[in-house]
């Protein structure tokens, strides 16, 4: 029997990235012409980490999420989920490893919120298997966490934009995948619910060792809730690192093509990003 390795050398799951993107290039072909949406992008998401994806509209953030789910095929480069190439995994295996909260999810109006959340258990069930008590409990738990349990019996068509968004977040939680992919999870939420959803995903990372890749539009929120940021510009990686290294006035002004100001939060010292004041 081999001698046990010292703790530091033991290959632990914490050192396998949940997500490993290498040299990812994606092109869309429309009307016979191809347009490069991502060029040579690399990034990692480790267990316990929130990686924020920031950049202007059309910089390739959503494309990156779609490449991770296998919805678009890379022209070159690779996407690995827990060590395996996405292309080699079945749709179900992908769903067991990564859960997605899409940008503007369309929900069928007549299904109730609970019916939609419990669909998160789909990858765990066989064709003829129905959800059991355990699945219902998981759905209830994730609905309580997203403050949607009180609308559980309401049809999706009667929910507000924010409620629909939180229902989809709850569904992704019920899926229990180690990696969460969130495409602007707070776009339709008010201040309180933004903080609640982002606090929740921070907590999941800290307590369960899950990893989060989140597209965040609001750079101040991104700085507040993400461990690291990746800044995309026209499909290329413009900067990556800790929020205070990425959110620099010169870099942001160049990438966004608009004058911005970055100043430290008076209490936390984290960067706060605002449009530059124009003094007449």
């Amino acid at each position: 029997m081999a001698k046990a390795l010292p703790v530091a050398q033991r290959p632990s799951p914490e050192h396998t990235p949940l997500l490993e993107v290498r040299g990812l290039t994606v092109a869309y072909i429309r009307h016979g012409r191809s347009r490069i949406a991502l060029r040579g992008v690399s990034l990692n998401v480790s267990p316990g980490e929130v990686l924020g994806l920031v950049g202007p509209n059309g910089s390739g953030k959503t494309t990156l999420i779609r490449a991770v789910t296998g919805a678009v095929k890379p022209l070159s480069g690779s996407v690995r989920l827990l060590g395996d190439d996405v292309a080699s995994l079945s749709q179900r295996e992908r769903a067991l490893r990564a859960a997605v909260v899409p940008q503007e999810p369309v929900l069928p109006d007549t299904f109730t919120a609970l019916e939609i959340v419990i669909m998160g258990r789909a990858p765990h069930l066989r064709l003829l298997q129905n959800e059991g008590v355990g699945d219902l409990e998981k759905a209830r738990h994730s609905m309580l966490a997203t403050a949607t349990w009180e609308v559980a019996d309401r049809p999706a068509g009667e929910l507000s934009g924010g409620e629909r968004q939180r229902v989809v977040v709850a569904r992704a939680l019920a899926q229990e995948a180690p990696l969460l992919l969130l495409d602007e999870p707070t776009a339709h939420l008010d201040l309180g619910h933004q903080a609640a959803v982002l606090d929740l995903m921070r907590g999941l990372c800290r307590d369960d060792g899950r990893g989060v890749l989140a597209v965040v539009h609001d750079l101040t929120l991104a700085a507040r809730y993400c461990d690291r940021l990746v800044l995309l510009s026209a499909g290329e990686l413009a900067a990556a690192g800790r929020p205070k290294d990425v959110l620099r006035t010169d870099l942001l002004s160049e990438v966004y093509g608009a004058a911005v100001e970055v100043f430290p939060h008076p209490r936390t010292g984290l960067p706060v990003v605002a449009p530059a004041a124009t003094d007449g």
């Binding site: 779609r66 789910t69 296998g70 919805a71 079945s90 749709q91 179900r92 295996e93 992908r94 769903a95 067991l96 990564a98 859960a99 997605v100 899409p102 999810p105 369309v106 929900l107 069928p108 109006d109 007549t110 299904f111 109730t112 019916e115 939609i116 669909m119 998160g120 789909a122 990858p123 069930l125 064709l127 003829l128 129905n130 959800e131 068509g157 569904r171 899926q175």
Partner: protein, 333 residues
């Protein structure tokens, strides 16, 4: 569920008991019980009555039930797969395509039995598949199928298929089916043999669809979400559209094109039992069967001694309902 079963049983009884020939209820019951249990209770019932009850009315009722159940189930399936509340075998051209397929085989006069099983439903299936693939291909915009393009493509294809079917039937005067009974749908030629045609196709198709109830729920989300929840979207769509088209085609090959059953019934079920396809699909089968048996009774009784094609009755109920949904829908589901 037990309510739906009871309703269906009631309608079956009404369907067997009523008809142009005035047969007392107790005689009807005697014939049914004797034939089903082997007891000898019908010796004093006239032979013509026995024939009418057992060989004319009962197969007709069963055929109407089978057609109604499969059409309603197919409608619910198309609505889930297309994510469009107005998808329905008749409206998307599947029924008319199937009728054309069946008509081509009937007028060409080729022998269509394969080891005792009629292959006529297969010819109808081919026609149904051509329709569903064409309509889906034409109507699809990105990942969704908007109501306007779906209905327009379905109506256009239906018109063409009906025109060709009518031409073929009018040109060929030798066969026993009339143009009306194919284009408007009717059960006036029902026999036990026809019940036996439908079953080998409708049963397996129904089993496949019912097994996918939970998956069809997930598919009712958009395709990208269904994929993210682990559903192999392309394969599942293929299986479900294939099964729904086979079931509709089998129904159409014995009844002609009967519209709107697949629209009215699933909507009514959704209002009562909700959208979960695990309830919606079986309930649609029960209520679809009951609805079409009822409609066929009306078709037989309303204008005695002549008969109204049952498709006229379903259109009469279905079109106002369709227009109401169209007005309300705006893509909502």
């Amino acid at each position: 569920m037990s309510l739906a079963c009871a309703a269906l049983l009631c309608v079956v009884m009404i369907g067997v008991a009523l008809g142009p020939a005035n047969i007392p209820l107790d005689a009807t019951l005697r014939v049914l019980v004797s034939r089903l249990t082997g007891a000898d209770l019908d010796s004093n019932v006239p032979a013509t009555w026995q024939t009418i009850v057992w060989d004319v009315r009962l197969p007709r009722v069963l055929l109407a039930g089978l057609a109604g159940g499969t059409l309603a189930m197919s409608g619910a399936t198309y609505q889930g797969v297309f994510r469009n509340p107005l998808a329905e075998p008749y409206l998307i051209g599947v029924a008319t395509g199937a009728a054309l397929g069946a008509t081509i085989v009937i007028v060409s006069g080729v022998d269509v039995s394969l080891g005792g099983v009629s292959a006529l439903p297969l010819a109808a299936f081919a026609g149904a598949l051509v329709s569903v693939v064409t309509v889906y291909g034409v109507a699809r915009v990105g990942n969704s199928v908007p109501t306007t393009t779906l209905i327009l493509a379905g109506v256009a294809l239906s018109s063409l298929a009906t025109a060709v079917t009518s031409y073929l039937m009018l040109k060929d005067t030798s066969n026993t089916l009339s143009v009306f009974s194919v284009v408007l749908g009717s059960f006036n030629t029902a026999t036990w043999a026809k019940v036996a045609w439908v079953l080998p196709y409708a049963l397996p198709a129904s089993v496949v669809i019912l097994a996918h109830g939970r998956v069809l729920n997930v598919l009712s989300l958009d395709e990208e979400q269904a994929r993210a929840l682990g559903v192999d979207v392309e394969r599942t769509k293929l299986i479900l559209l294939g099964a729904a088209s086979l079931a509709s085609a089998a129904a159409v090959s014995v009844s002609g094109t009967i519209g709107f059953v697949g629209l009215i019934v699933p909507h009514a079920v959704r209002m009562i039992w909700g959208s979960d396809n695990r309830a919606l699909l079986p309930m649609s089968i029960f209520l679809g069967a009951a609805f079409l048996i009822g409609a066929d009774v009306v078709a037989r009784m309303a204008d005695r001694p002549s008969e109204i094609p049952v498709g006229i009755i379903t259109a009469f109920c279905g079109v106002p309902f369709f227009l109401y949904l169209l007005r309300r829908a705006r893509g909502a589901y």
